[in-house]
Amino acid sequence: MHLVVCLKQILDPEIPSSDFKLDTQARGPAEGIASFVPSIFDENALEVALQVREAAGAGKITAISIGPDSAIDALRKALSMRADEAILIRQGEFPDLDTYGTARILASAIRKLEPADLILCGRESGDWYGGQVAAFLAAEFNYPYTALVAAVSRQEREWHFRRQSDDGWETIACSVPAVVSVTNDDHNLPRIPKVRDNMIAFRKTIPAWTAKDLGLEPQSTRGPNAELELEKLYIPQVSRQCRIIAGDNVDQKAEQLAQQLADLHAI
């Protein structure tokens, strides 16, 4: 059983709004305002893959990332969480990389590996929220696609996906191979790597593949989303004034708030 997890390295999304700044051209976040981390849902996706392998008692997990050289840290983290292999694809060679291109490049890389039984991506990246690469990968491979999956189990010759629906949960039975996008859930919190696994991960080699390795012409990966123009990127100003309920003690404050709620016709 081969599971492929696609990871993106992003600016730490947990930094407070007050520290968030844009670069001088306002095309993206300023450099140095926060560290880089694996995108949260991608880590949930890896956790799901690890649980599938544990339940099966065997299997191989490959983590793949397209990114700058620094993305090697995200892959190193995946290895310390106990992915078996990690592959970096150098983004620098692909100008104007859009979601179509990302999916095409990932698909070319995945085709070079042993056949995948399941390809997992986070539901969206935690920076620009593209939310498309998993679906585009399914289209590249002509595999079934399921979004918002929180848990995966193997039932004989099918995958069973527990996924978020609009008003609860659904279980989907799906043929193998398949592509899923993963959402967070209390059962797929990314595990904390063990110290020993960190050390093993640091000794592993992470190959960096180029366009040539993948047999791709860099310009051929340009898709229709590269035509989108970023007209403006700005930090919205919040102008709301909060009124703090005053009072000498808790009883008074509770009474005050109840009055306010009544004024708002809430009670």
């Binding site: 849902f41 696609y145 008003d167 709301r240 909060c242 009883d251 509770a254």
Partner: protein, 333 residues
């Protein structure tokens, strides 16, 4: 760029707020572009769907019909959407960010070779030189982006509860056309085997007028009990921040935020929630926000209209009492 299409899936659902929002965004965009709005219906929509679409501004309703549409299946439905659009035309396709919308927007966009933007909170057609503008928060709501698309087709998935509904018009005429879908089931199988509707205290978070919500500050699973009592007294639905979900205190269906539910209640009571930007994204549509937190530096106070700086453990029981007292006196009057 004249033809705007709202793609609506009837999959166990009645016509509701989700459909109204997509149509509302569509009718305004069609107005900006001097074009028309077509609602494309897939699945097995109840008879009330089409007249409702006309009431919310659709000029035309196209009902896709074919054997492959009897049960929802992402790849087959996206192929059906491609076929319908190639038959009747469509420059801008709008989808809701429902579970099926999150699958179908990128899948059908890919088939049509469209520019695709997910998680948009608005679209307009007031662009010099032609095109549409897509409003999309990024970086957990810390920044806002404006994207211009000039080449068709364009696929946009709209964030739930982000579009103000247009006024409903009664007795609006419109044309209903049937579009035969001949695509067959794709390779591979995909079927629904189990469906669980989960509700917090019987009231859907998205539909509740009042929502009471708890976060990491509650300190434990058992402490949600006092919020449950408050929500009963107020007739509110219960929600939570991602931190409370990640800690395993409440089910993830309670999660409100960037990646949880997006809600637009009249009143939102945030208890022990610090107000991380990814959480605030989920309540951007709330009319009144009240924050209860013992940390006066919590970012939630920058977004709230009313704040109480107290330990919720002491404050909530008192608040429940005060609300109850008012309710009884109101009834005796």
């Amino acid at each position: 760029m004249r033809s705007v299409v709202a793609v609506l899936i009837a999959d166990h659902n009645e016509f509701g707020r989700t459909e109204i929002e997509v149509l509302s965004a569509g009718v305004r965009l069609a107005e900006d572009l001097g074009g028309t709005l077509t609602a494309v219906l897939l699945g097995e929509p109840p008879a009330s769907f089409a007249p409702n679409c006309f009431s919310y501004g659709a000029n035309r309703v196209a009902v896709a019909e074919g054997p492959v549409l009897s049960a929802y299946q992402p790849i087959a439905f996206s192929a059906a959407i491609e076929q319908v659009i190639r038959t009747i035309g469509g420059d801008v396709l709008l989808f809701p960010s429902t579970t099926s919308g999150l699958e179908l927007a990128p899948l059908s966009g890919h088939k049509l070779g469209a520019s695709v933007v997910m998680d948009a909170v608005g679209v307009d057609g007031k662009v010099d030189g032609g095109g549409i503008r897509i409003h999309k928060p990024v970086f957990g709501g810390k920044a806002q982006s404006l994207l211009i698309a000039r080449k068709v087709p364009i696929v946009v998935a709209l964030r739930m509860r982000s579009i103000a509904p247009v006024a409903r018009q009664e007795n609006t005429p419109g044309e209903i056309i049937k579009v035969p879908v001949t695509v067959t089931s794709p390779a591979g199988t995909w079927r629904l085997v189990d469906r669980n509707v989960e509700q917090s205290e019987g009231l859907r978070l998205e539909d509740a007028r009042i929502v009471v919500s708890g976060g990491r500050g509650l300190g434990g699973k058992e402490n949600f009990a006092c919020l449950e009592e408050l929500s009963r007294v107020l007739g509110a639905a219960l929600g939570a921040s991602r931190a409370a979900v990640d800690l395993g205190w409440v089910p993830s269906t309670w999660q409100i935020g960037q990646t949880g539910k997006k809600i637009a209640p009249d009143l939102y009571l945030a208890v022990g929630i610090s107000g991380a930007s990814q959480h605030m994204v989920g309540i951007a549509g709330a009319k009144h926000i009240v924050a209860i937190n013992k940390d006066d530096k919590a970012p939630i106070f920058q977004m709230a209209e009313l704040g109480v700086i107290e330990d919720y453990r002491e404050f909530i029981p008192k608040l429940i009492e005060a609300v109850k007292k008012r309710k009884t006196s109101a009834t005796t009057l």
